[in-house]
Subunit: 234 residues, 2 copies
DNA sequence: AAGCCTTTGTGAACGCATGCACAAAGTCGG
DNA sequence: CCGACTTTGTGCATGCGTTCACAAAGGCTT
């Protein structure tokens, strides 16, 4: 007796918006599991994840028919299915390039390991940083990049280098075989087809908040007059 | 002669997707300005920002008619208009709550000040951290939250506290008058209407990358068999 | 065994975002 | 001053994502 419906459902094409929410559901499910909860309805899980329950059900329906009508979803089983879909049943080796303020914080963070991401390599160009031990790992010189990536089987790299170094470093990690990049530098990276880039830009987040904040306070006040003052001339 | 078209255009309702891209355009424009470039076409700016040029033009058209046909956009003028729309012609005071690994990195980052965000207050609950000086600021005890927020006129808070503390801390900063929150803790925050929350979740970013990475390698391999093994029983 | 009750999975409608393609607008050389 | 050329601003079509609403499905009680 196989539990998963063999027909339909598994489209092979999961919408990007759904993929972005699966980790949120997964986190909510883990929290429920810790509390010993065995079964959860779409309504409850949606509330825990902060989304509409119809959206949740549609999202899950892309993975298969894993619920039971009149009951809900079995927490553990759903955890497994989402994990599998996201590729978290295997561990991923990750390299961090740039061990400055931000890189250090990331390297020392425990929340990655618990989700199947192992920080396997730390790389920096600064001789003063190379050799340092952070969270049990030794920082290697960036010249060993190719070697380290091959040795550790790394396919995901985190870039925490200055903006000016980001594209060159990106080119190198891509040339070394990395096909997924998480970029913290405030630049638009150019990569070949087949390489995924996701960016995290904290300044942008603050600017978006500022926009809405300004709206609450009555919208942008500036008129033409102000520009002339601002540029201080003409 | 006023430069900005007085009619239409300024809808007061800028699409959220556009708002999220304006900071990217702004960054590209700053880079161009540094190189001494005075005028830029939508095609060039779009390339620098990594978007489609039609999208760029439509985005900018929401702010007004700031281009010149046959020529393009004046870099400085566009910088000013976007800055004004985003609310960056004024400075914003920001509080950081939680000065652990991540909070420290943020507090020490220079890229915020240059975009009009001043880190005005650092708050933590740990007596060992309170009193410490980071980047010229003294870490205050979380008990002074209300007072500090009022004194510094803070409306934006960054939460870099553990997941378990995030909601309580959130409630407190909201009660103190903060109406915009940037949250790094991996939890869904509940806030009253009128308060904006943006989340940055690095684990989620990695999980999304893992999903696509797995796809490149041939899709999720698991079948029912594997679940039974995984739960190790039954 | 039958009917009631709960909850899923999805069809359909709607709204937002994207990108093409082009007319209108403006520049610039002659 | 004119005509050719460039580039903007936008109408329109298309596709994606969200939400409502409900029939079908399954469990549970009697
Ligand atoms: N710190 C923050 O809170 C923060 C916030 C937003 C964005 N960022 C961005 O994240 C990136 C890192 O920020 P940070 O504060 O850690 O900067 P940082 O200057 O403290 O660290 C950068 C590190 O990269 C290393 N590096 C430089 N060039 C390199 C190269 N070619 N190869 C390998 N390593 C190299 C440096 O030696 C340094 O250790 C920057 O692009 C920054 O704009 C940081
Ligand atoms: N460090 C990372 O790279 C990273 C990555 C992803 C997510 N996060 C998330 O960011 C948050 C912070 O991460 P971190 O690594 O800096 O953690 P951390 O434990 O190093 O720092 C947390 C800080 O918050 C303070 N704190 C705890 N309770 C508080 C309270 N009630 N009021 C005020 N301060 C309080 C602690 O004293 C500590 O200084 C966590 O939620 C974490 O899950 C961190």
């Amino acid at each position: 007796m196989t539990r998963r419906s063999t027909l339909g459902a598994r489209n092979r094409g999961i919408p990007e918006a759904t993929v972005a929410r699966l980790p949120v559901y997964l986190r909510a499910l883990h929290t429920l599991a810790e509390r010993g909860i065995v079964t959860v309805s779409s309504e409850e899980l949606a509330a825990a994840a902060g989304v509409n329950s119809a959206k949740l059900r549609k999202d899950l329906s892309h993975l298969g028919s894993y619920g039971t009508r009149g009951v809900g979803y079995e927490v553990q089983y759903l955890v497994y299915q989402i994990s599998r879909e996201l590729g978290l049943t295997q561990d991923w080796s990750v390299a961090i390039v740039g061990l400055g303020n931000l890189g250090r914080a990331l390297a020392g963070y425990g929340g990655f390991a618990s989700r199947g991401f192992r920080m396997s390599a730390l790389l920096d160009a600064d001789p003063a940083i190379v050799g340092e031990r952070i969270n049990g790992l030794t920082v290697e010189h960036i010249d060993k990049l190719e070697q380290v990536i091959a040795d550790c089987g790394i396919s995901i790299a985190v870039l925490a280098v200055p903006a000016s170094a980001a594209q060159p470093v990106c080119d190198r990690v891509v040339a070394s075989g990395v096909t997924s990049i998480l970029n913290f530098a405030p630049v638009v990276l150019t990569v070949p087809d087949g390489v995924d880039v996701r960016k995290v830009d904290l300044s942008i987040e603050l600017q978006i908040l500022a926009f809405h904040e300004q709206r609450k306070a009555g919208g942008p006040a500036g008129v033409e007059q102000e520009y002339l003052e601002a540029v201080d001339g003409s």
